[in-house]
């Protein structure tokens, strides 16, 4: 008992240590300095578009027209990612629960989860467009395919993380299979599920942006915006869109961390 609480102490200390903003900020300043150096001193003026000076990128965020393009693109991307993630959660958790209920289901379905993980999804994207059209449904399918595996594998791992004593307890009280799933296996799985969700949420944003590169119907998302800026050599705008996408990814990562702590933080150091 004392061992586990002292481990928790260490973890807390480490987490508190992570809230140190000074060091990462310093790294950022150095990176910006290097960017200026490269932009003005290394690159010839005609090739400066390869790495625009940082203040030009920042200026984009104060240009209302471009800013609104990026905001619209971001909201579209967020919508696609959210729908894709929701579908992946439903499909992935149902898949994992089915596998946890019977060995033969796991034996027949788990290999496909692994195969799904091994397929280079990008190779499939043109086919997905072919089958589902080049609009919202195809984009969502890409998101689901890319984010499904961490949800399936983490949920299955979590459902199996109960200990034999806890299972004996439910056996002795003659609990139904659903009672055990609801009262034991699903709650026990929650930390792993949220760890999987955090990974899946990041991947689903990748999926939404990649979908834009291949599918042209519907309002353009961030991905479409990025390829437009790239083809027009609008380099500061391109960088601004990339930064917006990255900030969105970071935001989503922290949001899921926060959500996980809200749900399981009272019993698990998430």
């Amino acid at each position: 008992m004392s061992a586990s609480s002292s481990t928790r102490q260490t973890l807390l200390r480490r987490r508190r240590g992570r809230v140190n903003w000074v060091a990462p900020l310093l790294v950022l300043l150095i990176a910006i300095a290097i960017a200026y150096l490269v932009s003005y001193l290394v690159l010839e003026p005609s090739r400066q578009f390869l790495l625009p000076p940082p203040h030009q990128v920042i200026a984009v965020f104060f240009d209302p027209a471009t800013l609104s393009d990026i905001a619209v693109g971001l909201s579209r991307t967020a919508l696609v990612a959210a729908l894709g993630l929701a579908a992946a959660i439903i499909i992935g958790m149902a898949w994992a629960i089915a596998m946890s209920q019977a060995r033969w289901v796991e034996d027949s379905l788990f290999p496909y989860a692994v195969i799904l993980q091994c397929i280079p999804i990008l190779a499939l994207v043109p086919l997905i467009g072919f089958w589902f059209g080049y609009d919202l449904p195809a984009r969502i399918v890409v998101c689901v395919m890319i984010s499904l595996f961490p949800i399936v594998s983490n949920t299955l791992f979590g459902l199996r993380s109960t200990d034999p004593g806890q299972r004996d307890l439910f056996l002795l009280e003659k609990s139904s299979r659903w009672g055990r799933l609801w009262r034991l296996e699903l709650p026990a799985a929650m930390p792993a599920v949220f760890a999987g969700l955090r990974i899946a949420a990041g991947l689903t944003i990748v999926g939404a942006i990649v979908g834009d590169f291949f599918f042209s119907r519907g309002t353009p998302g961030l991905g479409s915006l990025i390829s437009t800026y790239q083809s027009r050599l609008q380099s500061p705008q391109l960088f601004a869109a990339i930064i917006a996408a990255s900030l969105f990814g970071v935001l989503v990562f922290f949001a899921f961390g926060w959500l996980g702590r809200r749900v399981v933080g009272h019993w698990y150091d998430f």
């Binding site: 004593g165 806890q166 004996d168 002795l172 009280e173 709650p187 026990a188 698990y268």
Partner: protein, 273 residues
């Protein structure tokens, strides 16, 4: 190859005598639990139990002491129906069985109160009654005020109390304990022994208590059974007339010292055999 059978507790309940051939003087009360030349060989070839033959009568608190690996846990798993024997017979006269494991096996996402309510919840006891019974059990194990705590905030001894309360809620007739205090320090263990003794005299269940501590076995038992290992067999069966709740000073009595040395002697004998 028989699973434990569930037999009525007694003729008072209006059930026919399950064994009319035996005279009443031989068996004054129907045992709550009875092993009849029971044996268990695992598919791996390990014989964990051999020729286990004893009865546990209503109101008894039988302690079983033996070296680790001698089949004590297996004995309890057989009594509870979690494990099926391969030879002989096991009869259990009640379905109301309480089981306290060596680990507290609490659900860490549930508060103390919700952990204590768990078994009643699984059994479908209505919420209001469940809450009342949980409050009583929490009071009985001395955890009032800790209802909203989560297991990770509790000490090892308190977790065992929660585990005890969780089983008490179901009001078991046969209460099985598998080295519940084995991982605790001696001071905590002795306090919990005292409390278990008074809970036993209040609730009047029938107990089968596994331990590897001779002192604990003698202090808690109305009977001490000494087991020896591989395959697990019974070495000795010693009665202790002292009444429950036990006086903590019983530990320093001459009788306690005598029984303790007797048990220790049988254990050593079993070990060299």
């Amino acid at each position: 190859m028989s699973a434990p059978q569930h037999l009525p507790v007694g003729r008072e309940a209006g059930y026919p005598d399950p064994d009319p051939g035996r005279s009443l003087t031989e068996r004054p009360r129907h045992p709550v639990l009875s092993f009849e030349r029971a044996g268990l060989t695992f598919p791996t070839g390990t014989t964990a139990l051999k020729d286990i033959d004893f009865d546990v009568l209503p109101g008894e608190f039988v302690t079983v002491v033996g070296p680790s690996g001698c089949g004590k846990s297996t004995l309890l798993r057989v009594a509870s129906g979690l494990q099926t024997i391969t030879d002989g017979d096991v009869r259990v006269a009640t379905e109301k069985i309480g089981y306290v494991f060596q680990d507290a096996t609490l659900l860490p996402w549930r508060s103390v109160r919700r952990n204590v309510e768990l078994l009643a919840e699984i059994a479908g006891v209505p919420a209001a009654e469940r809450a009342q019974r949980a409050a009583d059990a929490i009071d009985l194990v001395g955890l009032t005020g800790f209802e909203q705590h989560y297991p990770r905030a509790l000490s090892g001894g308190m977790r065992m109390r929660v585990s005890l309360a969780r089983s008490l809620v179901r009001d078991p007739q046969l209460f099985l304990f598998d080295e519940p205090f084995g991982a605790l320090d001696e001071i905590t263990r002795e306090r919990l022994n005292d409390e278990l003794s008074s809970i036993f005299s209040l609730r009047r269940f029938t107990g089968l208590f596994i331990t590897h501590s001779v002192a604990e076995a003698v202090y808690l038992g109305t009977r001490v059974i000494v087991m020896s290992g591989r395959p697990g067999t019974i070495r000795a069966d010693i009665r202790i007339p002292e009444s429950h709740p036990r006086d903590p000073d019983f530990r320093f009595s001459k009788e306690f010292a005598e029984v303790t040395s007797q048990v220790a002697h049988h254990l050593r004998e079993g070990h060299s055999a």
